[in-house]
Symmetry: C2
Subunit: 143 residues, 2 copies
DNA sequence: CTTCTAATCAACAACGGTTGCAAGTGAGCA
DNA sequence: TGCTCACTTGCAACCGTTGTTGATTAGAAG
């Protein structure tokens, strides 16, 4: 994830305006290692800027995703997740609580044999490992 | 996917009733190689049973998924897909039209190193290949 | 610094997929 | 045949997300 200053540059270069709201969003995302939902970003930004609207958060997150500065993920957890980590990596998802963790597994070995490609042009390969996180495992034992 | 007769047995054994609506859904799913959405199943069943409700289709599909007789997939195409193919396999998804195709790629090589497991118990590994299907590729050329 | 204009903002309504609910229906068993 | 409880149905609600609107504001040019 680029720094707020770099993102400011990028937005300006694209003719997009850099408002206080967007700067606040940049700050929240920068260095964020989790995979926040729009709602989460909204609440985080709201602490310093209580008047921001959820709509604005969506707008900016979508702009960032369109520019490739974050990745929008749909991991079946109910809401879209925005990933500031742009390195090649995969994800570990907790089926119970939706927690998402980065995983650097090498998936280059997983190839699709020609005849199975059905004429598709393949642009990306995502691997999702599903399971239960330590916190939820503990809860299950106590339940 | 089991035959309608086998599913009838299973439902009865579980104390679930086998109504004409459910039988019609079994028939539609049996031998279906695509990855139909609830809506698609609803329309297919509606042809022979115009009074069935979408709610009933959801109910039965969820029952089947809970019993492990179909797999519910969330591939980010907007709606859940129900997969009657229970073999170990993965999916090729068209980013344009949402078409889903089965792929028998071997993902056993993709392992998560211990330290990266973050204490998770991993129960499944899904690989999703994204790209453009031949039909949509043709459309893009003409656009 | 002023002015102009397009971009953005906030609030609200709408949307699509899915589920909850209440009332009526029917499957399966004795 | 009759009894029950699960099922079916239609509708309303729900959730995450996007469209729309009128008011506001950043940024460029003069």
């Amino acid at each position: 994830m680029k720094t707020p200053a770099e993102l400011t540059e990028l937005f300006r270069a694209r003719g997009l305006k850099v408002t206080p709201q967007r700067q606040a969003i940049f700050r929240v995302l920068h260095g964020e290692k989790a995979h926040p939902s729009a709602e989460w970003v909204y609440e985080a930004v709201s602490k310093s800027m209580p008047t921001i609207s959820l709509r604005t958060v969506y707008q900016t997150l979508n702009d960032l995703a369109a520019m490739g500065e974050v990745h929008a993920l749909d991991l079946g957890t109910g809401s879209a997740r925005f990933d500031p980590n742009l390195d090649a990596h995969h994800h570990l998802v907790c089926d119970e609580c939706g927690r998402v963790v980065d995983v650097y597994a090498d998936a280059s070995a997983v190839r699709v044999a020609g005849p199975q490609r059905h004429g598709f042009s393949i642009s990306s390969t995502e691997v999702v490992f599903r399971g239960t996180c330590p916190t939820c495992k503990r809860k299950e034992v106590n339940a």
